[in-house]
Amino acid sequence: MENIIETKNLTKQYKDCTALEHADIIVQRGEIYGLIGANGAGKTTFLKLVAGQSFPTKGELMLFGTHEQKEQERQRKRTGVIIEQPGFYPQLSIEQNMEYYRIQKGIPGKRAIEETLKLVGLWDVRKKKGKTLSLGMKQRLGLGIALIGEPELLLLDEPINGLDPAGIIEIRNLLRRLNQEKHITIVISSHILSELEQLATTYGFLEKGHLMEQISARALQEKCGNYLEMKVTDTERFTVLLEKQMSHDRYLVLEDGTVRIFNPGQEVERYSAAAGKNGIGILSMAMKQCTLEDYYMNLKEEGKKHA
């Protein structure tokens, strides 16, 4: 499959901090690529580099198969973006803002505006001025601006920020439809992992500028599997027991002391038996399905352990 975005050792250094370091990220045509990471992890930096809004300090960025800057500028006509905040003029109406971008992108005919505004649910309020829009409407307008001209690649930084639950579902379905029907490749970052879980086909986990892992949704499901959640009377001794006696280091201790043991295997009773043998009481114990959030938290913890 064609790589739409391919980075090698991509690094972005600001004066006193490294926002992105040696990132090797591949986004293939047709994917919905979910960027996951805490604030300052490098998600927006990555999107800005791809969008040409900032320049890499080191490394290589291939966009639509080219790394030449002038050619990349030409290729960017095939992209739509919302990065940081939707860019529009508050003094102009929704329709006028769309017309501004229609002219700028050189899209013939005004029909594209009607189609796009209907797609993002703003056609009925198209006369409203930008400055009077709610946060959700601003996001929709930003999405409309990104979508006008039928781009092949969408770069979306927190696109569901400020949307109400119905709006979130609508936008999620819209993005899925755009991906499935129009084969638009989407790179999306969001803090709402449950949203990304329902949408993304590939994930990139970023932490302090480093790409911790890049994994397809299917592979993640297989890898992640189930986990055993145990609450015990002495968490510290129990984790020592896990590591020393049972040689199991894929676990996570939550803030309330609950221990999550990943990939516990078939015989989960051996954990309770080992705890009992060492005089550690078991308060609760349950098998659970791993979510994206669990996987991310585990990855972060493992990262800390190896740091």
Binding site: S54, E73, Q75, G87, Q91, Y101, Q104
Partner: protein, 257 residues
């Protein structure tokens, strides 16, 4: 770039702001003439109720043209703040094209605004005031404006470059003022010691508008009265435009948005 220019023109003509700005300056210029008219009616000996005095207000300090251009850029062409420039870059329009496109649209918009304001200013002066000492004040003013138009565009282009480069408009304005007004005076000062600098200083608008334009109640004498003076204005404006366009393109080339 043509699409970018067209989109910016669409924006500026569909926003009220530019019309309001032009309207306010036109009304202010009319009020200025109305005040002179009323004073001359109230006091028969009032010497300033004349067209030549009214127009000398602008003709004697043509740097007002440059300043108005910079204000127009600051008010209507600094679109970094609402994320609009980010979109243009992300859609594949190069920073250089954005800069030049903005320069073109701001210059054309300012020129349209200037025509309206001048019509109100000169029209109300002619309708309300006496002729005064200089019978050729109107052609004199218009000739001066025409001679300095290229330099006014250059100053505006510089404003586009600086207001985009510095995220803070105040910083942008300070640097603009330094380049347009303070640097020429410094070069002029150094010219007192070094001959080469003296010649360079004499070609800088802030200096020649200060030293070679004598417009007051006693009469009008300006550098653009002679073909050599007009040529000086046009050549220095052309050089300024070239320098500021090149500098602007260099400033914006690797700018992060």
């Amino acid at each position: 770039m043509l699409n970018y220019v067209k989109s910016e023109w669409y924006r500026i003509t569909h926003m009220k702001d530019m019309y309001v700005f032009t309207g306010i300056l036109s009304v202010l210029s009319v009020i200025f003439n109305v005040v002179l008219f009323l004073f001359s009616k109230m006091d028969v000996g009032f010497p300033y109720g004349t067209v030549s005095f009214s127009l000398s207000f602008l003709a004697a300090d043509m740097t007002l043209l440059f300043l108005t251009g910079a204000i127009i850029v600051a008010l209507f062409f600094t679109n970094n703040k609402n994320g609009v420039m980010k979109n243009a870059v992300a859609f594949g329009i190069s920073r250089e094209k954005i800069f030049i496109g903005k320069g073109i649209v701001s210059a054309v918009a300012s020129l349209c605004s200037l025509v309206v304001i001048l019509a109100a200013y000169i029209g109300s002066a002619v309708l309300l005031l006496e002729q005064g000492v200089a019978s050729d004040a109107i052609p004199g003013l218009l000739k001066g404006i025409a001679s300095l138009l290229v330099m006014a565009v250059a100053a505006e282009v510089l404003a586009v470059a600086l207001f985009d480069y510095f995220e803070n408009n105040v910083t942008g304005y300070i640097v603009w003022y330094l380049v347009i007004s303070v640097v020429p005076k410094l070069v002029n000062l150094l010219g007192l010691r070094f001959n080469v600098l003296k010649r360079i200083a004499s070609w800088m608008p802030a200096n020649y508008l200060n030293n070679e334009v004598m417009i007051n109640m006693s009469g009008w004498s300006a550098l653009w009265d002679t073909p050599e003076g007009v040529a000086k204005c046009l050549i220095s404006g052309g050089i300024g435009l070239l320098v500021f366009v090149l500098a602007g393109m260099r400033l914006c080339r690797r700018q992060e948005v």
